[in-house]
Symmetry: C2
């Protein structure tokens, strides 16, 4: 067999202003290069507990089951559905972007009867439309919605829907992949039962883990299932026995990724949640203003625009791919294009976690001024 001649890993340093991954703090990278201990080593079990405690503070919850799932945000989404749905269950899903679509697909594969509450991409779903759908379908088991639609930049109001679900049997499921650690996510106050996120957005940890938290109401539903969860890998009734005091082996934890997450969470709490949210809001506002000055129009609905993911229509005459290619090749800046029905029409400019720094805004705006001149 021919010997491989693959060279040293030598990527160009980039400013990651796309929809994720965001730039990673050097302390997180350093933590990931720490030699491994075993996944049942008492030292590792302490790291696990510390990580879960910090995740609880980040989700603003007291939920016992608050853990990182061993996969990316989409694995978190699948975990959020697969543990609670049994074939024939009704699920109400808000669909106003790609990730609402993905939720429908995932729920459908679990055998759910999916009721879609649709809205134009870029707009939020009026909370009353969700609560009315619940009233019309009182048998529904889950009401699911995306907090921060990464495909559109819209920020969904959650509190009204949560208060409506709380006294009822229905579980409130929320995707916070892009919002967590960049703006308020109050799992307990908002009555969220199932909430998942990703590490590669405002947490500024590499992609590979999906923090998730489940309320007692949610766990009760999963423990009363008639059929086994269709995914062995994502079965929380087994996974919780590894993360709780039983320490029962399920699958080998992704140790280095967990080292990285623990360090990323430490950095979040050194800054403080309030200061971190404020930084994202202020710099998000500034970026939007600067982009508008250059002729970019904001895409997402006014009053409901995410601070960490800024979606903008391209100005007339600005060609999507060639300008993004110049940004990448000449300035080492990555910005995201549109997905699905807005492909070629919008850009998605991320200001997440470590990427959310004034110098990155200056750099992007300066580069665009040169390119568009």
């Amino acid at each position: 067999m021919e010997k491989q001649m693959v060279g040293e890993l030598n990527p160009t340093p980039r400013i990651l202003m796309g929809p994720g991954p965001s730039n990673v703090h050097y302390r997180v990278l350093r933590a990931m290069s720490t030699p491994l201990v075993g996944h049942l080593d008492p030292e590792f079990l302490s790291f696990m507990d510390e990580t879960c405690n910090m995740l609880r503070d980040l989700f603003q919850t007291k939920n016992r089951l608050t853990i990182p799932v061993s996969g990316t945000g989409s694995a978190g989404m699948e975990t959020a559905f697969v543990n609670f749905i049994e074939p024939g269950d009704t699920v109400i899903i808000g669909v106003n972007g790609l990730f609402g679509e993905r939720m429908s697909d995932v729920a459908d594969r679990c055998g759910a009867k999916v009721i879609r509450v649709e809205e134009e991409w870029g707009r939020i779903i009026e909370p009353e439309r969700m609560t009315q759908a619940i009233k019309r379908n009182p048998e529904a088991k889950i009401c699911a919605i995306v907090h921060a639609e990464t495909s559109t930049g819209a920020q969904q109001p959650l509190e009204e829907i949560g208060s409506f679900c709380k006294p009822r049997e229905i579980l409130f499921l929320v995707d916070t992949v892009t919002s967590l650690a960049g703006c308020e996510v109050k799992v307990d106050d908002w009555g969220i039962d199932i909430c998942y996120s990703g590490t590669q957005k405002c947490l500024s940890v590499p992609p590979g883990l999906s923090p998730i938290t489940i309320s007692q109401k949610g766990m009760d539903v999963s423990h009363l299932r008639k059929k086994k969860v269709q995914s062995w890998y994502l079965d929380l009734t087994m996974i919780e026995r590894y993360w709780n005091e039983e320490r029962f082996y399920h699958h080998t934890a992704p140790i280095s990724m967990l080292y990285g997450l623990r360090e990323g969470l430490r950095i979040v709490f050194e800054e403080g949640l309030g200061a971190r949210f404020q930084r994202h809001q202020a710099l998000g506002d500034q970026l939007k203003m600067e982009l508008e000055k250059l002729g970019y129009r904001l895409f997402a609905q006014e009053g409901y625009r995410l601070p960490m993911l800024n979606s903008v229509y391209l100005p007339k005459g600005v060609e999507d791919l060639s300008v993004r290619k110049r940004l990448l090749n000449e300035y080492n800046i990555e910005v995201g294009g549109g997905l699905g029905q807005v492909k070629g029409k919008i850009w998605r400019v991320g200001l997440m976690g470590e990427t959310c720094r004034i110098q990155n805004i200056e750099c992007l705006i300066g580069a665009l001024k040169e390119i568009l001149a």
Copy 2:
């Protein structure tokens, strides 16, 4: 909210002689601390291609679909079943240890009719028993078996079963989590259609990815499915569109883990497969001999003992937990205990990848002599 006071990450350096994770080469750790590029960055796409090419050489296959799944080995196992089974399909599974049991559980959750070919733990399954089961169940879609049973240390012969499956419609599925990169795994020559592994064993990359390879015969079956794959996250018909020239976004790739895998594979091919297998065999033989001198009896069937995972009965009077605790606390050596029905009865001593070095054998044997004196 109270501020977290979690200290710096500061684990004790360990010699990882359990059933995985194994010790990781410093070059792999260094690669994992490399700053990230985006998952659609042209530079990253090159890294992906290089990684897949090396994985093909490692699996000794020309299979186009040869990629790392974004989860640990158990996610690879689930991928291997969920893409090919539709409810009601018959699957024949060899069960002679925990991972054969796990395969049965996974297949059952896919709605398969599972036919178990059972054998005592520690023994191999005679190939004729598998081929006879296929003859008796000609409708069976998959014949599945574990190459290296991590729970018992037995090495399953595969060639006869593979030759039997090759001219038939049935797919031959093999778990090589513990064997890949430590002994021969000849996917094409042995007629394997579906083969998965993990990174944290003989590859000596941290846990978190599962290399998998699928034959054209296998992909044809998955493309002819009537129903969607029940797992969105592990649906190869979508994942392959990201890894092939389409580069269609599915989920955000675990970039840092992939950096680590690429470097781990480079190290494998610098050493050469032949030399690497020889090192595992020679040191595995030496460890077994040294352990026998200390009164440990070998657990797995003679003639079919894995080089990289050495299962031994405890000598009389040696208490499992207290001795392993002393090894860990006084000598920083981790060895594995027994799982399931052999819990408390055997140890599993790993010599995988970077752990498979003469100095680690000396260290373990020296420590045991002191403890057992």
